[in-house]
């Protein structure tokens, strides 16, 4: 059998199509495992994983921790808010201190783009990027594609629009790479101020009219407006944003075909999507969360299998 072409998961950019297929195939098996009466396998008994979160996270952190525990790995958690980072310790020092406690793998979220890549060059452990600034969030993109594959049969040839705050989104960039690698057509849609200037160079379509975008697509991935990353005002008011780029049931029902709605969470109900859309049958938001555990188990398992004794 093939194995991953990489020793770290730093971004989708570093993966090839075969890697994604292998991750999905492995995730299929783990999805069966997590629906058993006893949802745990002993594979990673002798692996220790450190979850380093230098930035807030609820879903991703829980999902990683659950995936690690389902694989029987030992888990240690670290969040920057309660650590010596506040006392001035550098990233490499922090991580090397943790690694000297015999840690095999590091799952890291960091506000700076490229933090994972930087770390992978300086420490010996296997690194999984759980989000680095506005750069990449590879496991989110993998679980998004996996959920599309599950819902629509395959990703190839599907039209996917990513709507919202593309500029500040690591989910958008990883999704663009992952979807294109699998042969999907990608469009981004949002206010001009929230679309990076040269994004069309990545081979994606750009649209500022939401209705046109939704009529084109099979799947709409709705992103949150990341107010916490905005240093200036990118649109007049939240209300105006919701009117122009928010999806409600009336808009959804007026489309020519039934489209699938995705959201990486957390949802701002009433802004990017209304409650009736989020809770509708067309939304696969909670399936994404369940698939997230299976995908992360697959990624951790496949990377751990490359750590030789």
């Amino acid at each position: 059998m093939s194995e991953l072409s990489v020793n770290h998961l730093l971004g989708i950019k570093y993966l090839n199509k075969k890697d994604i297929e292998l991750i999905f195939k492995t995730a299929d098996h783990f999805k069966e495992v997590i629906n058993r009466p006893i949802k745990k396998v002993p594979s990673l008994r002798d692996i220790t994983i450190a979850n380093l979160f230098f930035e807030n996270s609820t879903r991703t952190k829980l999902s990683f921790e659950l995936a690690e525990k389902r694989l029987s790995a030992d888990v240690i958690n670290f969040s920057a808010a309660q650590s010596s980072v506040k006392k001035g310790e550098t990233l490499i020092d922090t991580v090397n201190n943790i690694l000297s406690m015999k840690v095999d793998m590091v799952v890291m979220r960091h506000p700076n783009p490229g933090a994972g890549v930087f770390l992978s060059k300086h420490v010996s452990a296997s690194i999984i990027n759980a989000g680095d600034g506005a750069h990449e969030h590879p496991t989110q993109a993998l679980l998004d594609s996996y959920s599309i594959r599950e819902k629509l049969g395959e990703v190839k040839g599907k039209n996917v629009v990513i709507v919202g705050d593309i500029l500040h989104s690591r989910v958008a960039l990883s999704n663009i790479f992952a979807l294109q690698l699998q042969g999907a057509n990608v469009m981004v849609c949002g206010p001009k101020t929230l679309i990076p200037k040269y994004i069309d160079k990545l081979g994606v379509k750009v649209e500022t009219n939401l209705r046109k975008a939704l009529n084109w697509c099979d799947v709409a991935n709705m992103l949150r407006v990341q107010n916490e990353r905005m240093d200036v005002s990118y649109f007049p008011t939240t209300r105006e944003y919701a009117q122009q780029f928010g999806v409600d049931k009336t808009l959804l029902d007026s489309l020519d075909k039934e489209i699938t709605i995705m959201h990486p969470g957390p949802i701002n109900r009433g802004v990017e999507i209304t409650s009736d859309v989020a809770d509708s049958k067309q939304a696969i938001i909670l399936d994404q969360v369940q698939n997230g555990v299976a995908i992360r188990m697959a990624v951790i398992y496949l990377l751990a299998s490359k750590i030789k004794q």
């Binding site: 059998m1 098996h29 009466p37 949802k39 396998v41 002993p42 594979s43 496949l302 751990a304």
Partner: protein
């Protein structure tokens, strides 16, 4: 590298009938029994036995499953090749049932050790038996023995036993492959 035939199609067929009859002798109408093929190769033997039991011996309501042991193996990160997982299909409850593991070749016993751990994820069976087409005695690493065996083989470690099935390889035959 050479090979010799250990069992031909006719012999395999006779053995399958004998194993089916031995199962009937022990498990009667199979109401409390679950037959489980161990992935990847045990499922072929399991499927053949299940077909025989249903069609030739008119056993109804057989409970069956396929168990993959990849995530329970003890050689994760120790073998040169990455371990490839296969599908597990366990649609029946094994709690308080008599489980029969079915595998084509019993060699070191490590796969069966893993299967014993894996099955616990689906409940606590009343008892577990092992049926195997080929028993390579003298090669065991663990104290595991079959309850039903097709043929006992004295193969040394460098030799390999290969079981071919008509639905997969186009012929029913068991080879001993030696270097």
């Amino acid at each position: 590298m050479g090979q010799k035939v250990l069992l031909n199609a006719k012999e395999v067929n006779i053995i399958l009938h004998r194993l089916a009859c031995q199962l009937i002798e022990k498990h009667k109408d199979f109401t409390n029994t679950v037959l489980i093929g161990i992935q990847p190769r045990g499922k072929y033997l399991a499927n053949r036995l299940i077909t025989l039991l249903k069609e030739d011996y008119k056993i109804k309501n057989l409970q069956t499953g396929q168990l993959d042991i990849t995530f329970y193996r003890d050689d994760f990160r120790r073998s040169d090749k990455p371990l490839e997982a296969n599908a597990t299909e366990m649609d029946c409850v094994v709690e308080d049932k008599k489980v029969v593991f079915i595998d084509d070749v019993l060699y070191t016993g490590r796969s069966i050790r893993s299967a014993l751990t894996a099955i616990q994820s689906f409940g606590r069976p009343k008892e577990i038996e092992l049926l195997t087409l080929i028993d390579r005695r003298f090669s065991r690493h663990l104290p595991i023995q079959p309850d039903y065996r097709g043929r006992q083989v004295d193969a040394i470690n460098e030799e390999k036993v290969k079981v071919n099935w008509i639905e997969n390889e186009g012929e029913d035959v068991v080879y001993l492959i030696y270097s």
